[in-house]
Subunit: 458 residues, 2 copies
Amino acid sequence: MTDIESVQKYIEEHQERFQRELVELLQIPSVSTEPSCKEEVARAASWVADNLRKAGLEVEVVETEGHPIVHGWWSGAPGQPTALVYGHYDVQPPEPLEDWVSGPFEPTVRDGNLYARGATDDKGQMFTHMKSVEAWIQATGSLPINLHLVIEGEEEIGSPHLPAFLESRRADLTCDCAVVSDTAQFAPGMPAITYGLKGLTFYEVTLTGPQRDLHSGVYGGAVGNPANNLARILADLLDEEGRIQIPGFYDDCRPLADWEREQFAALPFDEDGFREYVGMDALFGEEGFSTLERKWARPTCDINGLTAGYQGEGAKTIVPSKATGKVSFRLVPDQDPEAIAAAFCRFVEERVRPGVRCEIDSHTGCRAVLVPVDSAYCQAAVRAIEQGFGTPPVFIREGGSIPIVESFKSILEVDTLLLGWGQNDDNLHSPNEKFSLADFEKGTRTSAHLWQELARRE
Amino acid sequence: MTDIESVQKYIEEHQERFQRELVELLQIPSVSTEPSCKEEVARAASWVADNLRKAGLEVEVVETEGHPIVHGWWSGAPGQPTALVYGHYDVQPPEPLEDWVSGPFEPTVRDGNLYARGATDDKGQMFTHMKSVEAWIQATGSLPINLHLVIEGEEEIGSPHLPAFLESRRADLTCDCAVVSDTAQFAPGMPAITYGLKGLTFYEVTLTGPQRDLHSGVYGGAVGNPANNLARILADLLDEEGRIQIPGFYDDCRPLADWEREQFAALPFDEDGFREYVGMDALFGEEGFSTLERKWARPTCDINGLTAGYQGEGAKTIVPSKATGKVSFRLVPDQDPEAIAAAFCRFVEERVRPGVRCEIDSHTGCRAVLVPVDSAYCQAAVRAIEQGFGTPPVFIREGGSIPIVESFKSILEVDTLLLGWGQNDDNLHSPNEKFSLADFEKGTRTSAHLWQELARRE
């Protein structure tokens, strides 16, 4: 029996215990944003640390000013590459509780799915890596590569202490690639490698007109109305074909490669299902691009919030003193959030009317990420998935942003393999979050293959 | 001594008592919008009715489903014209209380002004007519014309029961003109006749996109964002020169007459003071018109409120499910609110993007009013003001709308004389509302002259 055969046999034989352990972890309400859960969050960290120790890793629980970071490592493969697995043991708040079929912290199996808060995001997915590591060490006495596992407790609150942790341990954490399982497959039975993420930059534009709300009969038409002005500014950002109108906005956009457009077009994307899911009778977006291209690979501009004047029932005919718009842009590779911010501010300021004052609260956010799909690491992941899921992965991109991926690039200088075992309907951040037990096992098997494939990367 | 001399002597001799009585009325917190004040509102109605009875009028307190209407009348001048005086004994809420120097219902004299909620709007102003009536009847035994006083208690909540009252008593209330003192002089020592009011029409536009807020990374750019769409629709309503862009909007607008533009230009309007009062470093409005022309005689379009998506602190990068804009138009004479409403709805609907649903809550409001300044009634008012204030009035218009004036026109078929004794800085609807005691006396004297001048109208 080869090493990998022993490892896969171990995974098969211990699958039920793995599930029982996952249930135990899911029972801990480690809601990082909720101060009253602080002890439970710490309990989850200890549980993860103990589990990694039992698996055979060296482990340190690193305290931060917030919740602890669990760092486990194996350095017994000198000369072999090093991977850094990132995951998080904290979860989103479970509310609204009344919408859960079974309690968010009472993990329950229905139809082959395990329902609980954190089932897919991210306890269940990161646990696949913890168990593959155990399987290797317990079944063969070692791992084929060196490994860091960095499991944090603050992902759901924006990872405020993780970059400093990476900075301060940059030398210890030297590695060849990062691995994150916190995304989804393209569809059931269609595992995916997410090789692109969008960047993000967002703004709050506040226009102030009169020093208090004014009677629109007595003053209307004679003073600049900040809400009228805001509508103009925000409307000008996009034309009727969904193209962003800020000068130079598209200059640095990396266009979609032919193979990407072909690959996206070949995916069995259910446009009607998508439309029904969002509850609209038609879709709308940038002319000349498909829905998947718009979602994954074209920059976008969305007003996220508007606040001005009277918001109660009925009418109050005023010229509001103030109008605020929140607006965000999703960026594609090679766009520089700082250059976009400068161009955005110029665009807004040029449209401010006489007498209106403008303040822009600007957040540069993060750059887009594009992982080279032909790298040895990515190809190793392709082979691992092919063996673990019995089918090769599709390459997809994602419209969302995962800032920590950019930190791995900028601080540790490595690319991240985004290997998602979840499904698009796993209800992450919503009631009835779930994770397929079949995907849990396939993810664990794939993870075990991955360490071997990274060792024999070509 | 002529009748009018006796009347003016009576006013002079009883001025202190008149002020004491006004203080009594101002002490009653008759806040019509506040359910807990219902008894106080009724007490104010009784107080007004008693006061009119003592003056020598016949009085009826007419109950409505809301607050009562006090109707006093004198019909002892057969063959003479009949005037209908309208006023209101209800007041705005006094909040914020902490900004009042003296309590809103503890009338206090400072620097010749009486400070209290309702001092100018409208208890103090309407009381001038109640006292001139008393002076005529008590000093001479009669009034030179027939008179109705209709003093309601629901003006500050939109006069919901007044039109039905006018309709049901249309025959009893037959009259030649209406008189309302609920506006302001142009400036201290510059009494004014307000001969024009703007009309009003307002809308709530609600755009619905996805059936719930969506992640702007996962869905942004692929679905119509109702907030982006709302910004476009509302921005398109006006161009950068302040001209309304709805097709046909200006077709029926009555242009300013040459004498009006000349008269407005000759008024000592303090543009810098106005600018400082609104707290802006520049003004903005329709190209080609002065500030007074914009305020008084040009149609306007103001966004009164915006509500969409995330309104809390910081960022929440969503495609909001819904976006709502409240928008109102002030109309000038000859514009038809119903035609404007139809054109507005068309304009909005043409701009709704694929998949977005649009609902428009439409309020036709009221038409603009323009009183002929050369009518016998208006000329009688000019002479009365000349005698009461010692200076002829200026003719001004007003950007606000007083729907009840349109009711007098449509139901009773009479024009309304808007004879304001207040000042622009009287803080109506705001803390520290006031009314000049000198204006209170001059208003009372003018009112006494008015009944005589209406009797000898030419």
